[in-house]
């Protein structure tokens, strides 16, 4: 079991560095359905199988034709006439997969709920009527539907999805949440424990820049009616205040204090008002928070549906309390 895990970590190393182990887990828990194993379809499936998709099912009522062999890498001439859903070469790539030799229309007639089990359904080269029927079933079942079509050197695709939840967004540029405008008790106490004016040079130069910004912010508040520097002019004035705080030697020239340089450099990003972004507010204000069902998007492992719903409700209330209280 452990050896298996280690082998997978080795194989997927290069992609784990992109989407992490949560992303990988989501992939491995997914079950994808491909309707029509055309060249396009199998190409898509190959790209899902390689990174480790959990399971896939091919639905295809066609038999393999000569045309198929010409443009599908996974078919050879001795597959002609056979059921196209049986893509042996593709299965070899991942060691598994299931097939269904029925046409999608037949399934929609007899067993539309067949499609409810999938994380995603990919429909390739489907006639419009089938798209509409299948689309309706999937929309009601809240299963995302990816519609693809290719013709020679031209192609298109369209994604039909009701709602997609992203928890770990891996942002490229996240700003630090320093709470300098609303320091919590422990932070306030820590800041108070420093007394810049009475420090020797060594300690003065080694005080972390965040403390420096915090201290001078206090000074600023007393002169500016407890408002943070808001625009460029005020921030520049604040930076000047910091500059004045640099120790001077006997000749009145400023000493080399790297921590002050750092503080000045970080003024733009350190003085962010502590507030919930509007996009996050919207989530918690949404009706769904009051009517939690078990099926509320993908949630980190180890949470059962029950835990999830109770947690969500209490979390949304707590978050409001923390941020809005003083």
């Amino acid at each position: 079991m452990a050896a298996n895990k280690a082998a997978k970590e080795q194989k997927y190393d290069r992609q784990l560095r992109l989407w992490g182990d949560h992303g990988q887990e989501a992939l491995e828990n997914a079950h994808v359905c491909l309707v029509n194993a055309t060249a396009t379809g199998t190409e898509i499936l190959k790209n899902l199988v390689l990174p480790g998709i959990g399971a896939f099912t091919i639905v295809d009522g066609h038999k393999v034709s000569g045309e198929d062999v010409g443009n599908n890498f996974f078919l050879s001439t001795n597959s002609i006439g056979k059921v196209r859903a049986q893509q042996r070469r593709l299965w070899e790539l991942c060691g598994g997969g299931s097939c269904c030799g029925f046409a999608p229309d037949k399934l929609l007639d007899n067993d539309p709920e067949f499609f409810h089990r999938f994380s995603l359904v990919i429909g390739v080269q489907l006639p419009e009527s089938t798209c509409l029927r299948l689309g309706a079933v999937l929309w009601n079942a809240e299963v995302p539907f990816l519609v693809c079509r290719t013709y020679g050197l031209v192609g298109c695709m369209r994604l039909v999805v009701r709602e997609h939840t992203v928890v770990e967004s891996h942002p490229d540029n996240a700003l630090e949440d320093l709470r300098l405008d609303q320091p919590f008790t422990e932070l306030k106490n820590h800041i108070d424990s420093y007394d810049l004016d009475s420090m020797e040079k060594k300690d003065h130069s080694h005080t972390p820049w965040i403390i420096i910004v915090a201290k001078f912010l206090e000074k600023w508040y007393s002169e500016h009616n407890f408002q943070m520097p808001k625009n460029y002019k005020e921030k520049e004035a604040f930076r000047e205040l910091l500059r004045q705080g640099i120790l001077k030697n006997e000749n009145g020239a400023p000493e080399d204090e790297e921590n002050f340089d750092e503080a000045i450099k970080n003024v733009n990003t350190a003085l962010n008002a502590t507030k919930i972004s509007s996009t996050v507010e919207d989530i918690f204000s949404c009706d769904l928070c009051d009517n939690i069902t078990a099926q509320v998007g993908q949630v980190p492992r180890k949470n059962t549906a029950l835990n999830r719903s109770t947690k969500m409700r209490s979390v949304s209330h707590h978050v409001h309390q923390i941020f809005l209280s003083r």
Partner: protein, 605 residues
């Protein structure tokens, strides 16, 4: 009425099925490219790759399976393709494209060359070969979700080396040896240590304290006294690290105490270094073992936690154990290979990676830095670029589309295409850009390439000129150099042994001084470069030479992110402004942000 064969016009279809093409590289892009070429109707394909298949390739290089691990990529790729398309005539070379067997004449056999490479040296080389042979080259690269494709055609477009690309960041020796301040310094130190102990010893990869550190600024008289003192201090001897280690039988405890206690205590005597810096704290093996036994339970707890094993950060005790185990494993591997053997560091070789993880972390701890997980260290030590199947699939598709334009003679329709992570303001994920004309001052494709190099003629050796300047910096493989002194005095001959006697002599020994000109040729690449020598006594710290006219070093920092999960493609702020004279409305900056493997614009969103 135009005759069609599938989606292609008949003339194009005929060209496609009859022409010969060369694919350089059978990895991520290469596998996808071979499939696309064969399905598009290409029949005569040659593919070359010097590498063998590794487990970490299997998430995207779909022509390979687990049973193929260790085998030649080019060979297995050919076999897999032929299974799917028996009509394809594929020749596979398990070889380096830089081998002189692949001469300009070899390249002239092809209608088109397509690169699927992952390193700059090979790209430079193929660039020159295609210029010399006047064959169109399709260049490409990927990193994570990002990718790009472009065309290089002599006289028509920029060549690969027309725009200076930032060189990989290096650190001054004294930072690595004396005053590391970032994890990457410790990781580089650990890699050097690996080579000193088990691999090829390199004078530029010293790990012991650097007494010549200008910052330590001792009196010359003091230096002698300290040198003797250090010789008497424990086991520090003035012999090579490898010899010393061998004399102790690669005893992990002795090694540990030398590196993390004795050498650190020596550094502490250089007190000037620690006036403004936090001083390092030495570690002692037996002390650590005592502490370790007490905290053993926390180690077990960590191991039982969820998540990837590699992403855990052990404690100091844990890393001391890992250090000891890996030293034992590596030293027995070395012994097995017999006298004069050398190991080569490989990020995918577990004991080698363990060693670097342990040594780097111990050093980080000594210098009060937070230790890192094996996962993160591997990223940094191995310069790992994340890679997935889909990006390579898209790029390989684009390569073939451009190839079809080239074969139709429609070069004016070719362009550079960037694959972005998110759509740009015009909602495009794939962004085409016009190709730029050649840089008239390019040191490769200009009619008479010329550069100026600033160095110290009295202290620069011929060996350095050959290896660091001509080969490393200017991409030559087998340089021949003569002085433009009217006599054609030969400095360096590419023939083995002919000018070896010159290697340790200095440039000034040959009468080279400020203003001298050297003619450097690489006959394989059919490339002549005129080097103007500018003498200077004052080069930067640890700088052996400087190419005049280079943009200041804006190399993006190697991946030092905390999580190692996100990867950004270099420092966005260091994007260089467009130098294209024709201007370029379609995108906002030039793309010189290659960290190692791919080159692309990271700001075009």
């Amino acid at each position: 009425m135009v005759q069609l064969v599938g989606p292609l016009r008949k003339e194009l279809a005929d060209s496609v099925s009859s022409c010969r093409v060369l694919v350089v590289g059978a990895g991520g892009i290469g596998c996808e490219l071979l499939k696309n070429l064969v399905l598009t109707g290409f029949r005569n394909i040659e593919v070359i790759d010097l590498d063998t298949i590794d487990v970490s390739n299997l998430n995207r290089q779909f022509l390979f399976q687990k049973k193929h691990v260790g085998k030649s990529k080019a060979q297995v790729a050919k076999e897999s393709v032929v299974q799917f398309c028996p009509k394809a005539n594929i020749t596979a070379y398990h070889d380096s494209i830089m081998n002189p067997d692949y001469s300009v004449e070899f390249f002239r056999n092809f209608a088109l060359v397509m690169n699927a490479l992952d390193n700059r040296a090979a790209r430079n080389h193929v660039n020159r070969m295609c210029l010399a042979a006047d064959i169109p080259l399709i260049e490409s690269g990927t990193a994570g979700y990002l990718g790009q494709v472009t065309i290089i055609k002599k006289g028509l477009t920029e060549c690969y080396e027309c725009q200076p690309k930032p060189t990989q960041k290096t650190f001054p020796g004294c930072t690595i040896r004396n005053t590391p301040s970032e994890p990457i310094h410790c990781i580089v130190w650990a890699k050097y240590l690996f080579n000193q102990l088990f691999g090829e010893e390199d004078a530029d990869q010293e790990v012991s304290p650097d007494t010549a550190d200008p910052e330590a600024a001792w009196d010359p008289s003091e230096a002698a006294a300290r040198a003797t003192a250090s010789e008497q201090d424990g086991d520090i001897k003035r012999v090579s690290t490898k010899d010393w280690a061998r004399s102790t039988g690669y005893d992990p405890v002795k090694l540990f105490n030398k590196l993390f206690k004795d050498d650190i205590m020596y550094l502490l005597t250089m007190d000037k270094l620690w006036r403004k810096r936090k001083a390092p704290l030495p570690l002692e093996w037996s002390e650590l073992q005592k502490q370790g036994e007490h905290s053993h339970f926390s180690l077990v707890e960590e191991m039982l936690g969820g998540g990837l094993k590699d992403q855990h950060v052990l404690g100091v005790y844990g890393y001391s154990q890992l250090f000891s185990e890996s030293v034992k494993t590596l030293s027995s591997q070395l012994a097995e290979r017999g006298a004069g053997a050398e190991l080569v560091w490989d990020k995918d070789d577990p004991p080698a990676m363990d060693f670097v993880t342990a040594a780097a972390n111990l050093r980080m701890h000594v210098f009060s830095m937070n230790m890192k997980s094996r996962f993160d260290i591997k990223s940094m030590a191995g310069n790992i670029i994340p890679a997935i199947a889909t990006t390579n699939a898209v790029i390989a598709g684009l390569i073939v589309l451009e190839a079809l334009k080239v074969l139709s003679g429609d070069l004016d329709q070719c362009c550079t295409i960037f694959l972005n992570k998110q759509p740009n303001p015009k909602k495009k994920l794939l962004v085409p850009c016009a190709l730029d004309p050649p840089n008239l001052n390019c040191y490769v494709c200009a009619s008479k390439p010329e550069v100026t190099v600033r160095l110290n003629v009295s202290s620069t050796m011929i060996q350095t000129l050959q290896d660091k300047i001509l080969k490393e910096r200017f991409g030559m493989v087998a340089p021949d150099v003569q002085i433009e002194d009217g006599k054609g005095t030969i400095l360096i001959s590419s023939e083995e042994g002919e000018t070896e006697g010159n290697n340790s002599k200095f440039l000034s020994d040959f009468g080279i001084r400020n203003g001298s000109r050297l003619q450097a040729d690489d006959f394989l690449q059919d490339y002549t470069l005129l080097v103007n020598v500018l003498h200077s006594d004052e080069l930067g710290k640890d700088m052996e030479f400087e190419v005049v006219g280079d943009a200041p070093d804006k190399a993006p920092t190697p991946s030092t992110q905390e999580e190692g999960k996100n990867i950004t493609n270099g420092n966005k702020d260091s994007a260089q402004p467009s130098t294209s004279s024709t201007g370029n409305n379609m995108h906002c900056c030039r793309n010189n942000l290659c960290r190692l493997n791919s080159w692309r614009c990271s700001v075009c969103k």
